[in-house]
């Protein structure tokens, strides 16, 4: 009787490990694994397209050296990012969870690199959405990337800006509209975005730095980048390039 029980437990053990190795075998095929991961991400994240690229270790075929995921058109707290690419070095995946529940879970990884690209269009759309959200009309703002600055050409009716701000501005500059130019840099800390102006011209007047700093303190940080549920990350660097703003962790 005892022997029979022993045989049965050995049999169950063999079956369990057999099933596990079958999972591993089924999903270690590169293309299949990339597709499975892509589908798992698509279930959780709303975006235009997902691309997954896996590099296996040349010496240990089942070991993933590098896993990169690119997601196009992802909403990160109000801004639609053109591309978000996340790279993992030496990731260990929960294959059972991936196979059974179609969910991507990282058990461990040695390094994570996040690159978020925002184009002019993406930032212009963000501004348009904000204008609609706050019911602003006839606001004309045009952006241009001039590394390391973002240039902003604006023409805004004074009635469309916050009354508190309008009161301060009207003390210095009369007129029923605000027209001018700003060159500013972007900064990120713990995923909070702040803008710091280096030069502002308003209705033909260069605005002194002391006045600018009072406004900056009121407005900043102006946006919080939200992490995507599967991929936990924090944005801490911003680089302005010729066609994109690059946000990195």
């Amino acid at each position: 009787m005892v022997n029979l029980l022993k045989i049965r437990s050995y049999f169950l053990l063999i079956l369990f490990f057999g099933e596990m190795s079958l999972y591993a075998f089924q999903v270690t095929n590169k293309e299949d694994l990339e597709k499975t991961i892509g589908k798992a991400i698509a279930r959780e994240i709303n975006c235009k397209e997902i691309k997954v690229k896996i590099n296996f270790d040349s010496n240990i075929p089942s070991k993933i050296n590098n896993l990169a995921v690119r997601m196009d058109g992802v909403n990160i707290g109000g801004i639609i990012a053109d591309y978000i690419t996340i790279q993992y070095n030496n990731p260990s995946l929960d294959y059972k969870n991936l196979k059974n529940q179609g969910k991507l879970k990282f058990l461990s990884y040695s390094d994570q690199k996040v690159n978020v690209l925002l184009s002019i269009n993406s930032l212009q759309n963000y501004l348009s959405l904000k204008e609609k959200e706050f019911g602003k009309k006839n606001v004309n703002i045009r952006l241009k990337f001039s590394p390391p600055f973002i240039e902003c050409f604006y023409d805004v009716p004074q009635k469309e800006i916050a009354s508190e701000t309008a009161q301060i501005i009207s003390k210095f500059i009369p007129g029923d509209k605000l027209e001018g130019y700003a060159a500013f840099t972007l900064h990120a800390k713990k995923s909070e975005l702040s803008a710091h102006s280096s030069k502002v011209i308003l209705n033909h007047f260069l605005i002194p730095g002391s006045i600018l700093s009072t406004f900056e303190n009121k407005f900043n940080p102006f946006e919080k980048i939200s992490a995507i549920n599967i991929f936990n990350f924090e944005i801490n660097n911003v680089v302005v390039q010729s066609k994109y703003v690059l946000l990195t962790n």
């Binding site: 691309k51 690229k53 590099n55 050296n65 590098n66 990169a68 690119r70 591309y83 978000i84 690419t85 790279q87 070095n89 690199k113 690159n115 978020v116 690209l117 001039s146 590394p147 390391p148 600055f149 240039e151 050409f153 001018g180 130019y181 060159a183 280096s198 030069k199 011209i201 308003l202 209705n203 033909h204 007047f205 260069l206 605005i207 002194p208 680089v239 390039q241 010729s242 066609k243 994109y244 690059l246 990195t248």
Partner: protein, 135 residues
Amino acid sequence: MNSKPKKRFYKYLLSAIGIILICVLGFIAYLYSQGGQKNYTPPKAEEKTNEGQVVSDLMDISHAIESYYAINLSYPPSLKNLVPDFIGKLPTEPLTNSDYIYKALADTAFEVSVQNPQNYNLKELRVRNGKLIKN
């Protein structure tokens, strides 16, 4: 008897007010002269030392490579592929005017370096996977 010092006081007060007024008007005139559409240009970048310029160039190229990777999921075959989408113009070394060296190491790493770090009194001056190595 007191009229003379009083007069002198008013004289000083008036001249002080006049100077302050001139300063304020001068400042307003300066702010006005710096405004206008002809001044819609970004501030000029601060001048850097040769080494500072190289570090800045290496980091700019490195960020451009990372952006290229973010879209293509592979590193660029050459630095020329970064122009114009990720970098306006490829910088060259300020001392020798030579191109920076770029290597894509396998599919998961890259390195950008100067031709000869000894030109900057250094043993190593390069950026590997976004991290500056300078010693």
